[in-house]
C-alpha cells in the first residue's frame, strides 16, 4: 500500500443530480504507466480534475505517496509532485515559451536557484522535447503540436512524480502522435508515473 | 409587532418596484445573460432615456412613457453601433475581459459627465396626470406612479419573451448564445444577430428610463445605484432566462422594500449586492439558469 504513488479509493463526484464518478478506485505504483480509455462523457477528465485538485470530490479519498491530499488545494498538490496537462492547451499567453516554463519551475518545483539557473533548466527542458527553437516565441502563436508539447513541458517543469496527460494527442497527425508518445515514454523511464488518457488506440497500445 | 397594514404595503410596493426593476434588467438579461457582454453602462443609458423623457415632457408635455416608446428605435440604432465598435475592437481580437469592461466603464463615465455638463446635478422630474394619484384596495395603496411602470414593464417583458421564443431573430439570438459555430454553419451571421440583440437591449433602456423618471426624480449619478440591481437580477434569475429574470426582479423588489421599510432606506443599495453575493455563493446558476 505505502509504495503506491497514487491511491484513489471510492471516489464519488456529483454535479447536481448527475453522478459523474461513482466509487472509482485507481492505484498507480512508482514509475508505472496507466492508460485510461473510455468514451466521451465517461468521466475521465472529471477524474483528473479530482486528482489534480481542480475539483473536490464528494466522497472517497485520494492519497499521494501515502499522504492524504483529498482536501488539498491544487497548487499544493503540484508542489508535492502531481502534474497534469490540459486537454485544451492553456498557455500563459502574454509570455514566451521559455517564460511559460519559469512559472512551474519557480513555484511547483520550488526552484529558488538564481535566475540564470532557472532559465538554463527551462532551456534544457525545451530542447529535450524539441521546443528549443521557439523558446523566445510568444506562446500564443504556436502550432497545434507545439502547443501540446508546451503543455507537457509545463507539467514536466513541475518535476512531478505523477503526470496525468489528458488527451495530449487529440487531433495530431501520426508522426506527431509518435513525438508526444516518445516524450511520455522517456519521462516514464526516468521514474515518473504516467496516467495517459487517450482515444488514439495505437498510442495506447504502444504505451 | 409588525402591523398587517405596514407589512402588506411593503410587499405590494415591493412587487410594483420589482416589476419596474424587470424593465431595468431585461436589457442586461439579453446582453449579459445571453451574450456574455458586460455592459455596465446599461444603467447609464437608462438615465439618458429618463432625461429624454424629461426634455420632451417639460418642453411639449408628452407623456413620459410615450416618449420612451418613441425613443426606443433611436436607442436601438445607437446600441447596434456601439456593439459594432465593441466587436471590432474587442471581441474579434479576444480582448473582451479587461478591455471590454474598461470600455463600458469609460462609456458610462462619459454619459454621466456629459449629462452633468448639460443639466447639472439638480434632480429632474416629469409631470403626468397619474403621478400623484393612488388606488386603494382595503388598507393597501397602489400608487399609480408605481403601477403604470409595473404594467409597462410586465408588458415589455412579455413582449420580449414572446419575441425570443417565437420569432426567427429571437431564436437566432438564443442560438448564438448557445452554439455560435452551429449557427454559422446554418448560414446565419452571428455578428449581425448579436448587433440586433445589443440594439434591442439598449432600446429597452429608453423605455426603462421613462419609467424611472415616472417613479421618481432623476439626476446623473442615479444610474450607478442600478448597476448592482441589474446584475443581481440577471444572475439570480439565471443567465439566459427571461422568465427567471422577471421573477428575480420581483424578489429583489420585495426584499428591498422590506429592508427599506423595516431597517431604513439608506440600506436599499446594499440589498442588491447582498442578493448577488448570496446567489453566487449558494446557487451560481441562478433560479432558471442554463448552466
Amino acid at each position: 500500500m505505502s509504495d503506491r504513488v497514487l491511491q484513489v479509493s471510492g471516489l464519488v463526484k456529483r454535479f447536481g443530480g448527475f453522478v459523474a464518478l461513482n466509487g472509482v478506485d485507481v492505484h498507480v505504483g512508482p514509475g508505472e504507466r496507466l492508460g485510461l480509455i473510455g468514451p466521451n462523457g465517461s468521466g475521465k477528465t472529471t477524474l483528473i480534475n479530482c486528482i489534480s485538485g481542480a475539483l473536490f470530490n464528494d466522497e472517497g479519498s485520494i492519497r499521494f505517496d501515502g499522504q492524504d491530499i483529498t482536501r488539498m488545494l491544487p497548487h499544493r498538490r503540484a508542489r508535492l509532485g502531481v502534474a497534469r496537462s490540459f486537454q485544451i492547451p492553456k498557455p500563459f499567453r502574454s509570455m514566451t515559451v521559455l517564460e511559460n516554463l519559469r512559472v512551474p519551475l519557480e513555484y511547483a518545483a520550488r526552484s529558488r536557484a538564481g535566475q540564470r539557473r532557472v532559465v538554463d533548466e527551462a532551456m534544457d527542458l525545451l530542447q529535450s522535447i524539441g521546443l528549443g527553437h521557439c523558446a523566445q516565441h510568444n506562446s500564443a502563436g504556436l502550432t497545434q503540436v507545439d502547443m501540446r508539447k508546451l503543455e507537457l513541458a509545463r507539467a514536466l517543469a513541475a518535476k512531478p512524480r505523477l503526470l496525468v496527460s489528458d488527451e495530449a494527442m487529440a487531433g495530431l497527425s501520426s508522426a506527431e502522435v509518435d513525438e508526444i508518445l516518445e516524450i511520455l515514454l522517456a519521462l516514464n523511464k526516468r521514474g515518473v508515473a504516467v496516467i495517459m488518457i487517450e482515444h488514439i488506440m495505437r498510442a495506447v497500445m504502444r504505451f | 409587532m409588525i402591523s398587517a397594514d405596514l407589512f402588506s404595503n411593503a410587499v405590494v410596493s415591493g412587487l410594483l418596484l420589482g416589476g419596474f426593476y424587470a424593465a431595468v434588467a431585461i436589457g442586461l438579461a439579453i446582453v449579459f445573460g445571453q451574450l456574455d457582454i458586460v455592459n455596465i453602462a446599461h444603467p447609464a443609458f437608462i438615465i439618458v432615456g429618463a432625461y429624454i423623457a424629461y426634455i420632451l415632457n417639460s418642453r411639449f408635455g408628452f407623456d413620459p412613457v410615450f416618449v420612451g416608446l418613441l425613443a426606443a428605435p433611436a436607442f436601438f440604432v445607437v446600441g447596434a453601433v456601439i456593439y459594432r465598435v465593441y466587436f471590432l475592437a474587442f471581441e474579434r481580437t479576444g480582448q473582451e475581459s479587461l478591455s471590454g469592461l474598461a470600455f463600458f466603464f469609460g462609456v458610462m463615465f462619459i454619459i454621466e459627465v456629459v449629462l452633468i455638463l448639460i443639466y447639472g446635478v439638480d434632480y429632474r422630474l416629469v409631470q403626468a396626470d397619474y403621478i400623484g394619484q393612488s388606488w386603494r384596495i382595503g388598507f393597501v395603496d397602489f400608487p399609480l406612479r408605481m403601477l403604470v411602470p409595473f404594467a409597462v414593464a410586465a408588458a415589455l417583458t412579455a413582449a420580449i419573451y414572446v419575441f425570443m421564443s417565437r420569432t426567427f431573430m429571437g431564436r437566432a439570438i438564443q442560438a448564438v448564445a448557445q452554439d455560435r459555430l452551429a449557427l454559422q454553419l446554418m448560414g446565419a451571421d452571428p455578428v449581425r444577430i448579436k448587433q440586433w440583440a445589443f440594439g434591442l437591449g439598449i432600446a429597452t433602456a429608453a423605455i426603462a428610463g421613462s419609467l424611472l423618471i415616472v417613479i421618481g426624480p432623476v439626476e446623473p449619478s442615479v444610474g450607478r445605484l442600478y448597476i448592482g440591481r441589474a446584475f443581481a437580477i440577471v444572475v439570480l434569475g439565471g443567465m439566459g432566462s427571461i422568465k427567471g429574470m422577471f421573477i428575480a426582479a420581483l424578489i429583489l423588489g420585495i426584499v428591498e422594500s422590506m429592508v427599506s421599510t423595516f431597517a431604513g432606506p439608506s440600506w436599499s443599495p446594499a440589498v442588491a449586492f447582498g442578493v448577488l453575493a448570496i446567489t453566487l455563493a449558494l446557487r451560481p446558476a441562478g433560479l432558471f439558469g442554463r448552466r
Partner: protein
C-alpha cells in the same frame, strides 16, 4: 531598464524636484504637479491588481478615501504629524485591500469588478454617516504652519507626493520582474493553469489587493491637507476611479512604466484643458481618452512602442 539607470533616474528626478522648489514660486504649478503625481500613484497602484494580476477594480476611490479619512480622524483625535498619517493611511488602505481580497477570493472577472463597486458604495455610505469625521457635511483641515525648509506648505506636499510616487514606481518595477510578479502574470493569463503549476493563487491575489490598497491609502493620506475641505463626494469621486483605470490602460498595463506614461499624458492634458478651456470639460477628457485609446490601442502606448520595435529589422 537596467537597475543602475533606473535608480539614477529616480534620484535625478527627486533632485530636480528639490531644485524646482528653490526657483519656482507660483503655487499653481505645485498644485498641478501634486495632482498629476497623486494620479500617477493611484494608477501605479491600480495596475498591480489590474494590469499585473488581471482583476479589474472599479472602486479605487474607496481606498483613496479611506486614506484621506484616516488622516481626518487621526488628526482630530491625536494630531499626528504627516509621516505617521501617511503610514496609517497606507495601513488602513492595505487592511481594506486585504478584506476585499478575502471576501471576493472566489469571484472572477466581472463579478469581482462589481464587488469592488459594491464595496465602494458601502464604504462611502458608512463614512457619510460617521459624524466624527464630518459625515456628509464634510470636514475642514487647517493648513499647518510648519513646512520644513520649503517656502510654502504646498511645496512640501509636492515633494512628499513626489517621494511617495517614486517609491511606488520602484515597488511596481520590482514586482514586475520578480518571482512574485511572474506568479501574478500567470494568474492573469490563466488562473487554473497557474494553480496547477504550483502558484498559490489565493495567497498571491491577497498580496496583490493588499499592496494596491496600501498604495492607494498612501495616496489619499495627504489629500485633506491639499484640499483643506474633505467630504464624501470629493473623496469618493468616480473621477478618481476612472483616472486610476484609464491611465494604466492608456499607458499599457503589462509593464510597470505603463501607468507612469499614462499618468503623465492624461494628467498633463487634464491640467492644460482645465486652464485653457474649462474645468468641467477636463473631467470628460479622461473618459473620452480611455474609450478612444482602448478601442484603437488595447495594449496601450507600451504596446504600440513594442509593435513598432518588432517591425524594425
Amino acid at each position: 531598464m537596467k537597475a543602475a539607470a533606473f535608480w539614477g533616474t529616480l534620484a535625478a528626478i527627486f533632485v530636480a524636484g528639490l531644485a524646482l522648489t528653490t526657483v519656482l514660486e507660483n503655487e499653481y504649478y505645485y498644485n498641478a504637479l501634486y495632482l498629476i503625481l497623486q494620479a500617477m500613484l493611484m494608477a501605479v497602484a491600480w495596475n498591480i491588481l489590474g494590469g499585473f494580476t488581471g482583476y479589474v477594480n472599479f472602486g479605487s476611490a474607496a481606498f483613496f478615501a479611506m486614506g484621506a479619512y484616516t488622516t481626518v480622524a487621526l488628526n482630530k483625535a491625536l494630531g499626528l504629524p504627516l509621516p505617521l498619517l501617511i503610514l496609517a493611511g497606507g495601513a488602513v488602505g492595505g487592511l481594506v485591500g486585504f478584506g476585499l481580497g478575502y471576501l471576493t477570493l472566489r469571484l472572477k472577472g466581472v463579478y469581482f469588478a462589481i464587488a469592488t463597486l459594491a464595496m465602494a458604495i458601502v464604504i462611502e455610505t458608512f463614512i457619510a454617516n460617521w459624524t466624527y469625521v464630518g459625515g456628509a457635511r464634510g470636514s475642514y483641515m487647517l493648513t499647518p504652519d510648519k513646512h520644513l525648509w520649503f517656502d510654502s506648505y504646498i511645496q512640501m506636499l509636492f515633494m512628499v507626493m513626489l517621494l511617495l510616487t517614486l517609491g511606488a514606481v520602484a515597488v511596481s518595477r520590482m514586482l514586475n520582474s520578480s518571482r512574485l510578479g511572474r506568479g501574478l502574470a500567470a494568474i492573469r493569463d490563466d488562473e487554473v493553469a497557474a494553480e496547477s503549476a504550483g502558484v498559490p493563487t489565493l495567497r498571491l491575489k491577497l498580496v496583490s489587493t493588499t499592496v494596491m490598497g496600501g498604495m492607494m491609502g498612501v495616496a489619499g493620506a495627504p489629500f485633506p491637507y491639499f484640499v483643506t475641505f474633505v467630504d464624501p463626494v470629493s473623496a469618493f469621486n468616480l473621477f478618481i476611479a476612472v483616472n486610476a483605470i484609464a491611465m494604466p490602460m492608456i499607458g499599457g498595463t503589462g509593464h510597470w512604466i505603463g501607468p507612469v506614461i499614462g499618468a503623465l499624458l492624461v494628467g498633463t492634458t487634464q491640467e492644460i484643458v482645465k486652464v485653457t478651456v474649462s474645468s468641467e470639460l477636463n473631467v470628460l477628457i479622461v473618459g473620452v481618452m480611455l474609450v478612444v485609446f482602448i478601442t484603437l490601442a488595447p495594449q496601450g502606448i507600451v504596446g504600440l512602442v513594442k509593435k513598432h520595435w518588432k517591425r524594425k529589422p
